[in-house]
């Protein structure tokens, strides 16, 4: 203790002399909590790619400091592990930011920790609405399930669709999608004629699809987490000739996630979805992003919405630190993050000054084959969409 005091005093003096928070040659440590192994390892890979791409573009530095990324692997939804990792990152690694967070339960679990430690946390994917209200130190650059579900309802009404049948996976986000969609649809005079919640581990969708076929609704809206469920559902849909039966199908962008789209194959053709990012987005910034992505990581992996939010997460951290002049104290950074606006490869985005949640354009896309590969082609959009679950309050 005695020995340390002069050092601290000297440091304080140095700060005073220079008149700036003289940490210019320090490293900025950022903790990333995500899934790097197990069935969801793709999420971690995509996060990593987005982060690396941002750092590469900016010479490995944010606000003039060398960035050190410390990765922690939760291998899927594991709230207890996420909480422990958050503690380790804060106490042992002394990180200035925590980010990553692919699963909502993980984000909720570390909320009390980051609140206590006042460590700014930037959510790169977890899409449960209340995450940003669970701590004043959490901001989000991804999306909420409600935010992408409700515009689909509005768009359907605009097309004159009056009736729909809702199919969701039976878990928290599925329920969120269902509620947000139904609310928006009912508000515009639409009617949900039926609904079904399928178990998460459901090998065969034939029974559900047959049930829908017999109910003969005008249209169907579905929400499944990206992965094996949407292709299985789409296969059953095609096989049963639902299109020929005149039933139109709509979904959120999870159904045609760029990571899985090629594997889903032609079953996805023509499907109309709503989401915040398609890698075929036509802006100059996105084309550069995609080109850099392929140049750096090869063509084996397509940038998905995980990569883009990771890239934006780094951009948000950089933007906030620019505003605070490099000061990493929790309250100042959060104040700077709120209201931050910048151009993302997906389009203009903003972190809501009131809620710390993302405000962005939600696109309506159709799955098409362009130049031999399946892509989500955007053809309509809703600007500045806020999280409807919070707007309602």
């Amino acid at each position: 203790m005695l020995k340390k005091t002069p050092v601290i005093a000297a440091l304080a003096l140095a700060c005073g002399l220079l008149g700036t928070p003289a940490q210019a040659d320090e490293t900025l440590r950022i903790g990333v909590i995500a899934s790097y192994s197990g069935p969801y390892a793709d999420y971690g890979r995509q996060f990593d790619a987005g982060i690396q791409l941002y750092l590469k573009e900016h010479g490995g530095k944010i606000a003039g400091k060398k960035v050190e990324i410390i990765k922690k692997d939760t291998a899927g939804p594991a709230p207890d592990a996420a909480k422990r990792f958050a503690q380790e990152l804060i106490v042992r690694d002394k990180v200035s930011f925590i980010t990553g967070l692919d699963f909502s339960p993980n984000a909720y679990a570390l909320a009390p920790i980051v609140t206590q430690a006042k460590v700014p946390t930037v959510v790169m994917n977890a899409s449960s609405s209340a995450i940003t209200t669970s701590s004043p130190y959490i901001a989000r650059v991804s999306f909420t399930v409600q935010q992408v579900s409700a515009p689909m309802a509005t768009w359907l009404l605009k097309q004159g669709v009056k009736e729909t049948y809702v199919v969701v996976a039976d878990y928290a986000s599925g329920t969120d999608a269902h509620t947000a969609f139904e609310q928006a649809f009912a508000m515009g005079g639409g009617k949900v004629v039926g609904s079904v919640r399928t178990p998460m581990n459901n090998p065969d969708f034939s029974a559900y699809v047959q049930r829908i076929k017999d109910a003969k609704p005008e249209s169907v809206f579905f929400f499944f987490p990206s992965g094996v469920m949407p292709p299985a559902f789409l296969k059953a849909w095609k096989e049963r000739g639902m299109e020929e039966a005149g039933i139109k199908l709509f979904a959120t962008g999870e159904a045609t996630d760029d990571s899985y789209l090629e594997a889903t194959g032609d079953a996805a053709l023509g499907l109309i979805t709503s989401h915040h990012y398609s890698y075929a987005h036509k802006s100059e910034k996105n084309q550069k992003f995609v080109k850099d992505f392929y140049d750096t990581f090869g063509k084996s992996m397509r940038p998905s919405y995980f990569a883009i939010t990771a890239y934006d997460g780094m951009a948000a951290i950089a933007g906030a630190l620019q505003k605070t002049g490099g000061d990493v104290s929790g309250d100042k950074v959060m104040a700077a993050l709120k209201g931050l606006q910048f151009e993302s490869p997906r389009g203009p985005i903003e972190i809501d000054a009131a809620t710390g949640d993302i405000v962005q354009t939600v696109y309506i896309r159709r799955t098409e084959r362009v130049g031999g590969e399946l892509v989500n082609v955007e053809f309509d959009q809703f600007d500045k969409v806020k999280d409807p679950a919070k707007a309602a309050k």
């Binding site: 192994s37 034939s206 029974a207 992965g227 094996v228 299985a232 000739g241 090629e262 594997a263 194959g265």
Partner: protein
């Protein structure tokens, strides 16, 4: 109604096709082989690789899936499984579940964590009408395969010398050995054959299930249900059980979607309470 039963039968056949290999390794050879799904996964990946990388057709790919899974099964039998035939079932569980996790990691490493693309041949896509029902061609194909494999297995086990030797060795190893049966080689072949069947089932499942590295773990519960409900050690038992499970599952999800997911577990519990050794237990149990 008709279509629900048809779909149930098709789904049941899918379960049977994957689980029948487990009935051979776990039932006949009494080895608690939880790695069964991993062998099915090997078959699935072999088929996908054969089709997408080497441009083979679906049917040659099915052969490749059987061969690949049987080869890996044979190698593992020789190196690992053989040592644990007489071990406590818990040791067998530990070994085989360990193999599952290894396989998940290996496939993630080589093929990535995402699902594999698969498109069935033109002749098996879409639907056709059969006795007034619009049935999926692929599902019909599964049903045909199921019956073919059932018939083939019953023939081999009950009518051939090889089948008689397997039955003898399973019932009483010492006496079988005494009569000059090379039990070790027999078990090696049978195990590899069971794994081959798993691989074939895995490849056939491509049209319905998605193939990704967690396949081995994800569907394990369904294979176990089929073998336990059916009665380990027979072929006809798992067949009947798979059909019942398939029909109960599909009908439950169709008529009672709120309960649908649980019905097969209720069905399993009740069956095991009433018939603890399965619907059609092996003689002598």
């Amino acid at each position: 109604m008709g279509i629900v039963i048809f779909d149930g039968i098709a789904y049941g056949m899918l379960l049977f096709l994957i689980a029948v290999g487990l009935s051979v390794t776990m039932g006949l050879m009494s080895f608690v082989n939880l790695a069964h799904g991993a062998f099915a996964m090997i078959g699935g990946y072999a088929a996908v690789t054969a089709m997408n990388q080497f441009g083979l057709g679906f049917f040659p790919a099915l052969v490749a899936s059987f061969v690949a899974a049987a080869l890996v099964g044979g190698v593992l039998e020789f190196t690992l499984y053989r040592r644990l035939y007489r071990a406590h079932p818990l040791d067998q569980v530990l070994l085989s579940i360990g193999l599952v996790f290894v396989s998940v990691a290996v496939f993630t490493y080589f093929f990535g964590p995402t699902i594999q693309a698969f498109s069935p041949p033109e002749s098996l896509t879409g639907s056709m009408s059969l006795m007034g029902l619009e049935v999926g061609r692929y599902r019909l194909f599964l049903i045909v395969c199921g019956f073919a494999i059932l018939a083939g297995l019953l023939l081999v086990l009950n009518r051939t010398r090889y089948g008689a030797m397997v039955r003898a060795a399973v019932d009483n190893q010492r006496v079988a050995r005494g009569t000059g049966i090379h039990v070790q080689r027999l078990f090696f072949l049978t195990f590899a054959f069971g794994c081959g069947l798993a691989g074939l089932g895995g490849a056939l499942s491509l049209g319905i299930l998605g193939l990704e590295p967690s396949f081995a773990l994800k569907y394990l519960i369904f294979f176990l249900i089929v073998v336990c409900v059916g009665g380990a050690g027979t072929i006809i038992g798992p067949f009947v059980a798979a059909l019942l499970v398939g029909i109960v599952d599909v009908a439950g999800k169709y008529y009672l979607p709120e309960l649908g997911a649980f019905l097969i577990y209720v069905f399993m519990v009740i069956t095991l309470l009433v018939r603890p050794n399965g619907l059609i237990p092996r003689k002598g149990l």
